[in-house]
Symmetry: C2
């Protein structure tokens, strides 16, 4: 079994197959890259967004990049510490949805779920958009086509995931470590050259002046607060993905919780280091980003500079490795790859969350079982289309998309922290051991600090981004929330309606009447008759509809020669219909004897190509649908496999093999009963 599979399965949080998974549990060195790509990749765009927002205040604004980055790092620290508590409290890896549902009730769980679903879409959109923005540094041809390129990449990701990609831990580990080496290496070389060797490195944008927005440029009072809030909100995108490890605890080697907590700490450390290093380098080299859409411009000697601006990552790599092209290309390529991987994690996470929600009745049941490839695929397609729509609508502008992002993550963080506090309070009420109580009190205090921080950030994010786009994310969340509630209400109603009534559980029908529809005298019709005979019904009759009188005469003669023991009844149909008269006849059969059961046997051709389906069985389909509404009537389509059906069988078996008999899974999946 490959690692991603293991992770996906375990995320769903069921003990079923856990005893078979021992061999695939993750050591920390593999777990870190598996869970880190999403969290680390945000380093590729969060610093850009901090600087870009500060550019509204002109060059003077960039002075605030230090405190903003420090603030984001502080929140990251608090969130990491908080989630270490979650990791210890929920070693089953339930994730924020479970924490919220268990401790705060279904509405809180549903709030978290809505937020996460929206954020999966945005993770894909933002990550791929940022990848395209970074790629422009080595593929200038992309400039002007960002939206379309990003959409195509998302559809490519969709295609890969629809085919069922065989990712392994290694596949995750190489680029993630590659990215860490690239970024940390770049920071190290940069700091070495500047601080130790004293070289005067200058970014391409170092000498430029910036003409910001007059309102923000005053840098005092409300303007200053608003500027810092917006910049901080955008920077807090760096926190997305930190919670992933708390979902994956069962995938860790023993001691699971401690290993997961250590890995989480490592992840936080690496992310904070990267983020701080990039902001430091940007300050030291004078690298700048400006918010072009807000009308901010670069000036050189008072004249507006109109040129495409590279991302901070590209500017720094160019500056630090200036003259050493491979270093520059390595940083950009690794950044692109990790962003692509981060988008891919959403393609794994979205159907998994969908499965959990389906289990709880909030989404169509069919999404629950992973075996239903159709439904699983629908989730992937839905995610891809939503994300592709977003990148097209916003032309793959990370700055625009980031306004919608982060809200969901912080809703989830905040509700989850509240849930953790409730969790500890519940356990404290029954815990007597003083040492355990102390530990719980400390955990609760940490989660309380976490709640304060994440709640505050959520408010800042909402206040500073709402009119710039966050309202769209909030609307989408509210829509999903009410949709999922409606689905659950429907399932509850159906469950009430179908609850077992013991009185009728064993009532057998008084008589079984078999009716075979015969429209042609051929093998499929005879097979239907054979099955009707095999059902040993009290009466069997063959019915044909006189849609074409010449044909009916031939049929009747042939029938009498062949099966004189079963009467062939001819139903009049002056309008040359088949369905209506047949349904009316079957209805009539039942009306006299309500305790009788009528079994209708209809021949059906099984075909192998989609276009053959247009040519066969349309009437059968309509008839089955109509008959399904008659109580006491059950319809059996007796299949006759045409030769072409083997193509479909082969297709089905090939995809079966790919889907649930993956090599090296170590489980026998034979369809054999557990007991007999």
């Amino acid at each position: 079994m490959n690692l991603t599979d293991a992770v996906k399965r375990l995320l769903v949080g069921r003990k079923l197959a856990s005893n078979q998974l021992g061999e695939t549990l993750l050591p920390k060195r593999i777990a870190l890259p598996v869970f880190a790509s999403d969290a680390l990749s945000s380093v590729a765009y969060a610093p850009d967004e901090i600087l870009l927002t500060l550019s509204l205040a002109g060059v003077a604004g960039f002075a605030f990049s230090w405190p903003i980055a420090a603030g984001v790092a502080l929140v990251m620290l608090v969130v990491v510490l908080s989630y270490r508590q979650t990791v210890h409290a929920y070693p089953s890896g339930g994730g924020d949805y479970e924490v919220a549902s268990v401790n705060l009730g279904p509405h809180a769980g549903l709030t978290v779920a809505s937020a996460l679903l929206v954020d999966y879409v945005l993770t894909v959109a933002v990550s791929v958009s940022s990848g395209v923005q970074n790629a422009k540094a080595i593929f200038p041809v992309l400039v002007g086509h960002e939206g379309v390129v990003a959409a195509v990449l998302i559809l490519l990701l969709m295609a890969i995931n629809l085919r069922g990609v065989r990712e392994s831990g290694t596949l995750f580990a190489i680029p993630t470590y590659g990215f860490m080496i690239a970024v940390l290496g770049m920071i190290g070389v940069g700091l070495l050259r500047i601080v130790v060797l004293g070289e005067p490195l200058a970014a391409p944008t170092a000498g430029l002046d910036v003409a910001g927005d007059p309102f923000y440029s005053q840098l005092e009072g409300f303007a200053l607060v608003a500027l810092l809030a917006r910049s901080f909100s955008s920077g807090s995108a760096a926190l997305t993905g930190v919670e992933a490890i708390s979902n994956g605890v069962p995938a860790f080697r023993e001691p699971k919780s401690r290993n997961a907590a250590t890995t989480l700490g490592l992840l936080g450390l690496v992310a904070i280091t990267m983020m701080g290093g990039i902001i430091a380098l940007a300050n030291l080299t004078g690298a700048k980003m400006i918010d072009e859409h807000a009308g901010v411009v670069f000036l050189r000697d008072g004249v507006v500079v109109t040129q495409h601006q590279d991302t901070v990552m590209a500017q720094l790599a160019q500056t630090v490795f200036d003259g050493f092209q491979p270093g520059f290309v390595f940083v950009i390529v690794m950044t692109m790859v990790i962003l692509f991987l981060a988008a891919n994690t959403a393609f794994n996470g979205f159907p998994v969350l969908g499965s959990i929600l389906a289990r709880d009745g909030y989404l169509p049941r069919a999404l629950y079982t992973r075996g239903d490839r159709l439904a699983y695929s629908n989730g992937i397609i839905l995610l891809a289309l939503a994300a592709a729509g977003l990148v097209l609508a916003f032309n793959a502008s990370v700055t625009a998309l980031i306004q919608l992002y982060v809200v969901g993550v912080f809703v989830s963080f905040t509700v989850s922290q509240l849930g953790m506090i409730r969790h500890w309070t519940r356990h404290l009420a029954v815990e007597a051991d003083p040492a355990d109580r102390r530990r719980m009190l400390r955990s609760r205090a940490i989660n309380a600090v976490g709640l304060t921080f994440t709640g505050t950030v959520l408010l800042i994010v909402l206040a500073s981004k709402f009119i710039y786009g966050a309202y769209l994310a909030v609307l989408a969340m509210a829509g999903l929330f009410f949709l999922m509630k409606a689905i659950r209400r429907h399932y509850d109603r159906v469950a009430d309606e179908t609850v077992l009534d013991l009185a009728e559980a064993h009532t057998l029908p008084s008589r079984l009447r078999a009716v075979v529809l015969v429209m042609e005298l051929n093998k499929p019709a005879m097979r239907a008759l054979i099955f009707a005979r095999a059902s040993r019904a009290n009466t069997i009759e063959a019915i044909t509809i006189a849609a074409d009188p010449d044909q009916v005469e031939d049929l009747r003669r042939g029938w009498d020669a062949l099966s004189p023991d079963v009467a062939l009844k001819v139903i009049a149909s002056p309008y040359r219909e088949v369905v209506g008269p047949f349904v009316a006849y079957v209805k009539g059969l039942r009306s006299g004897n309500p305790r009788d059961v009528v079994m209708v046997f209809i021949p059906e051709l099984v075909v192998g190509h989609w276009w053959e389906r247009l040519l066969h069985n349309q009437t059968t389909l309509l008839m089955k649908t109509r008959l399904a509404f008659l109580p006491g009537v059950i319809t059996t389509a007796v299949p006759y496999q045409l030769a072409s059906s083997r193509y479909a069988i082969e297709r089905a078996e090939r995809s079966d093999a790919a889907e649930w008999r993956r090599p090296g899974t170590g489980t026998v999946h034979s369809g054999a009963p557990l007991d007999d």
Copy 2:
């Protein structure tokens, strides 16, 4: 039974219900409007197209409108005479498709059918476009939006036909006679004022000069021939629809053939009179049309006049009734209505032809029975979308669309005439009676003249229109031809494959094993178990898939308490799939005993709303599809009707009532067997 229904049914040419239709047979005065709207409506655009094409040669070109109109009238006369022979020879109303198939073989029939299908689409597009062009005279606001308005009108027609319009003979008669009164009245008043009273009536375009195409303006040699050929081809659009009566002979009162032939003669007379009258009036009043798309312009005193031009009908009505607004409005409104009716006849004819082709295996079988509303609707939607696409692509320009039109009609005419010659030759070979032989020889001679004329026109049309658009129609016909051949080949192959093998006709399975899928312990599951018991299989077992181990435990306990006599087997599913393991299990059951039959019973919820279908039975659907491919396995979805299903039942019964229990049909449609 209403008349349109009667006509539609009889067009299909089956004797089945004919004995019940006596009361609804059409007198000539009603038959004329029922069948004439298509043929007469072309008078609304054919004269325009004649004049417009002649405008290529400048003002001098219009002098040829007389001979062109006379030529079209002559061909019309020949076609009418020829079809009178068809009416006598095929009183069953088989139409050109039957004439060609019976006498010349299936390829000829298919050629005619392809041509007719394409022409149905063009009838809708051209008629509605012409209606919009005429409407502009009283609704100038339409100018510039012709394409969209025409497309909307076509979609409106589609909606009306999808709902199942209850046209009656009267509905056809009023506007058709109204149109005849309007046009003949206009011609009469116009001729009276000009010829008898000597008033100098001048059309709005009378005083204008025309700057044509230098090539055609030379009016000699090839240019003249090309001009006349193009003008004649466009004018021959007046002949479309003439063949309709030959399809409808059975709808006439006795003596059917003679009445139909008389009506056909009347139709020809009226059409020729209208056409001649309009061309005469246009010449007398100086009404002109120019081909704006070909760069022809009106000149006044040498200066280009840029104004929207009205149709010939609108110009003449304005001129003749000048000062009497109601007369003008009456002509235009009647023209619009008859064009709309003409388009509507295609909506009736298209599915009828589709039904005949489906009967012969050239189109999906489902199109055969009119009872399958789904398929019938598909035909209407297909026709509407194709026609709407055309009017949008050509911006409802009759001049552009007419280039595609007419080819199909003349292919059909020509092949049909050839078929009639073969018909008489066949009959002459066996006919001994001298009087009959004389009659047949005369008929054959008339059809030979018909063939000569229609064949010549077809060549003229092809030669003069091919590069202007007719090639598109030819391509579409060829595409349909090969598609229908492929469909027929497929059905033949399937028929060969399913031909009855007497040896296996009576082989009963050795054992019947019933398998019930139980995923929840509820009413639907119990109902499935009851049906499995009722089938009296040799063995019955209940199967559940261990997708969720907690649920399985509950289920097992509940089951043991409830149905200890039927064993519940639990199938392992480490991947939380349902379909794969169950299908594998059923497959395994069969593999040991190939003569056994496995009956699978799956509970299925019957719901009433489309959205409920998204929430239920997805897994069941997938499972049924997969199980259908296993030989010796039949799957019965045991329906459990949820309360909401009554909405769907009500809908189905309402539409049943509308569809096949129309008031006053005089037939009892009870679904009762003819014999028992």
